[in-house]
């Protein structure tokens, strides 16, 4: 594996426990009570999209469903609301995983933005159908702040897989 498919750095294989550990950490961040402050990033969606793009064979919609339910419980939202959104994010991320790995991080972030917006739009539609109040357009700010964090978060989550650069002119790749 490489950081992106165009990079010449070789990464160590990912450890499965680290994927789940990072998701649980993101869940902890999602539980921090920020009230109705706008623009708080959706940590779980972001980390989930990241791993679904990096490792589509190891993690997918099932994890999205389970972590979505846990977010629903912690935030007191309707059961299944975040689960639905995260299942869709995981599907879209897995669907575009191979294409996205050819792009540099900033362009990856541009691809992730519509996925997160689609997830938020789904949640709004579901809750409006159930008779809730429209939360205002600032609600969608959360996707944009999440996407700003894509590049630094990619670096952090890949950190355990980096190995020291070998200065060897005869190495084939």
């Amino acid at each position: 594996m490489q950081p992106t498919n165009r990079s010449s750095r070789i990464l160590l294989p990912v450890k499965l426990w680290f994927i789940y550990f990072s998701l649980i950490l993101a869940l902890g961040f999602a539980y921090v009570p920020t009230g109705t402050f706008p623009g708080v990033p959706d940590w779980v969606a972001l980390v989930l999209a990241f791993w679904c793009i990096r490792e589509p064979l190891r993690i997918g919609m099932g994890a999205g469903f389970v972590f979505g339910l846990l977010v629903d419980i912690g935030q007191g939202a309707a059961m299944g609301q975040h689960a639905l959104a995260y299942v869709v994010v995981a599907y879209l991320a897995g669907r575009f995983a191979r294409r996205l790995m050819w792009f540099p991080l900033l362009q990856q972030a541009l691809h992730v933005l519509p996925m997160l917006l689609a997830a938020q739009l789904l949640m709004v539609i579901v809750r409006l159908l159930a008779g809730a109040e429209f939360p205002g357009w600032l609600y969608f700010l959360s996707s944009f702040t999440s996407v700003l964090l894509w590049a630094p978060m990619s670096f952090l989550l890949l950190l355990p897989q980096y190995q020291p650069v070998e200065r060897d002119d005869n190495r084939p790749i």
Binding site: I24, L27, G28, F29, A30, Y31, V32, P33, T34, G35, T36, L57, G60, M61, G62, G64, F65, G68, L69, L70, I73, G74, Q75, G76, A77, A78, M79, G80, Q81, A83, L84, V87, V88, Y91, G94, R95, V124, V126, R127, A130, G131, A132, E133, F134, P135, Y139
Partner: protein, 295 residues
């Protein structure tokens, strides 16, 4: 099963196709949503799973606690002195009113006794503090720092110094969730203080309330105070709720009545969870003590 009777090699076995899996999970999610929002079947599941996520939630709440405590710590002396003076002034005013209240209560009891009406009973209440707004942006809910351990139950009314702010909807072991009156799914039966006209008050978003199902020709005008009617058996009768802000009689059969809440629904911090109106339980210690003394 392939054509010649061989199993496919394991590298090709990845379960159902992604689109099929997506459809299945979306259906499960929609079923969950309907079961929760429409029928409220999933409270047991939610309580059970919340036990598992509880440690993580407690750990995540620590930074918020820290910020809150720090802001308390750095409150200036002047602010405290101002608050103190303000509270003293308020206490003088309410003390005078309390004196009259006691006398009125006595008189009320005697009159009720004369009329052979059932006596009104006192209620037990729990003082609580609003910790933070619930993170769900689609509803107006707050989290209190008192839960099932202090005797908070779902359905109890929550008031601040000026009136009703909402109703307890979910109870966790040491916290509880209150749905504010301004939530779109919250309703409260009220009556007009001036003439006893009854109606049901609904949240209408943007921090406002709406009195529905009142005939357009009804006697109601801007400035009328609305108090709880107590017909639901949940809210005590006579708690102040809202004031009529505007009445539009041009609508169809019913008037469109917009009200402003009296309590600081989106601002207050210290609140009181009122218990149900029922007789106080008998003292549990009394009987064994007598038995011990008898022999």
């Amino acid at each position: 099963m392939s054509l010649v009777g061989h199993q496919p090699p394991p590298i090709f076995k990845r379960g159902p196709a992604p689109l099929a899996r997506l459809m299945l999970l979306v259906c499960v999610c929609l079923a969950l949503l309907v079961a929760d929002l429409k029928f409220r079947y999933l409270e047991v599941l939610r309580q059970g799973l919340s036990v598992a996520t509880y440690p993580l939630q407690m750990a995540a709440a620590k930074p918020a606690d820290f910020v809150r405590n720090a802001s308390h710590y750095f409150a200036t002396l002047i602010q405290v002195q101002l608050d103190n003076a303000d509270l003293r002034r308020q206490q003088l005013g309410s003390g005078e009113r309390l004196l009259r209240f006691e006398q009125l209560e006595q008189e009320n009891q005697q009159l009720r006794g004369l009329l052979e009406m059932s006596q009104r009973v006192g209620v037990r209440s729990v003082a609580a503090e609003i910790l933070y707004n619930a993170p769900d942006p689609f509803s107006r809910k707050v989290i209190l720092d008192r839960g099932a351990q202090e005797g908070v139950e779902p359905g109890l009314a929550v008031v601040d110094a000026k009136g009703v702010i909402g109703q307890v909807t979910r109870v966790y072991p040491i916290q509880s969730e209150v749905t504010l009156l301004t939530d779109r799914n919250q309703a409260i039966p009220v009556q007009v203080l001036r003439n006893g006209l009854r109606g049901v008050l609904f949240g209408s978003g943007q921090g406002r309330l709406e009195l529905r199902f009142v005939i357009a020709s009804a006697d109601i005008q801007p400035g009328d105070r609305l108090v709880t009617s107590g017909l639901d058996g949940v809210f005590l009768p006579g708690l102040p709720v809202a004031e009529v802000a505007a009445v539009d009689r041009e609508a169809e059969a019913f008037a469109r009545i917009v009200c402003e809440p009296l309590a600081g629904i989106e601002r207050s911090v210290q609140v009181l969870v009122l218990g149900r109106a029922e007789l106080p339980p008998p003292l549990p210690q009394a009987a064994p003590a007598e038995k011990a003394e008898a022999p």
